[in-house]
Amino acid sequence: MILGKVVGTIVATISHPHFKNRRLLVVQPLVMEGEASAPEDDFIALDNSQAGVGDTVLVNREGNGARQALKNPDACVISVIVGIVDSVYLEY
């Protein structure tokens, strides 16, 4: 799972049935301060936690976990937003 910031929304009227009734959001992964994020870092995730633009989210980026989160053993989904992050404490 990774931490990311929701930076965009996607409207897709025609989409796979497994995506129906859930929103597709654009997520930018968080990086350590001073490190630059690569242009290919951002990705699309299916929302399972009522997240919105500007929220910091916990994203599952693995198919089996995604299928479990969506309760669909055949879902063609890799990235699912499974939590909204309140705070992160870093020791080092």
Partner: protein
């Protein structure tokens, strides 16, 4: 899951069993700012996208799961959605850096 722009179609007369009838499209993977990532790739289409459409794509095993009938097929990129509307905040609109100590987000 990532964005892709449909650039054209690919035709294969001889295909692996189970992939007959699948539409193959040539796509350019894109990032959120619509800049190309890498070279052209071939994706299997399940949403009847056309040339010029901006699409949502899914990679790896999940691409094969997106296929309508046979789920155990050699497919590693699938078009699963056609983007009608896209709203992305510009780079720098949100702080995406983590600092040492406490990072409060809400």
């Amino acid at each position: 899951m990532l964005f892709g722009r449909v650039k054209g179609n690919a035709v294969c007369t001889i295909k692996y069993p189970g992939t007959q009838g699948l539409k193959l499209l040539v796509v350019q993977p894109l990032n959120k700012n619509m800049q190309p990532i890498g070279g052209l790739q071939v994706a299997a289409d399940v949403v009847q996208a056309g040339v010029g459409d901006l699409c949502v794509m899914v990679r790896s095993r999940e691409a094969a799961l997106a296929m309508p009938d046979e789920k155990f097929v050699p497919v590693d990129l699938a078009l699963v959605g056609i983007v009608d509307e896209l709203e992305v905040k510009p780079d720098g609109a949100y702080d995406v850096s983590l600092r040492r100590g406490k990072n409060q987000f809400t």
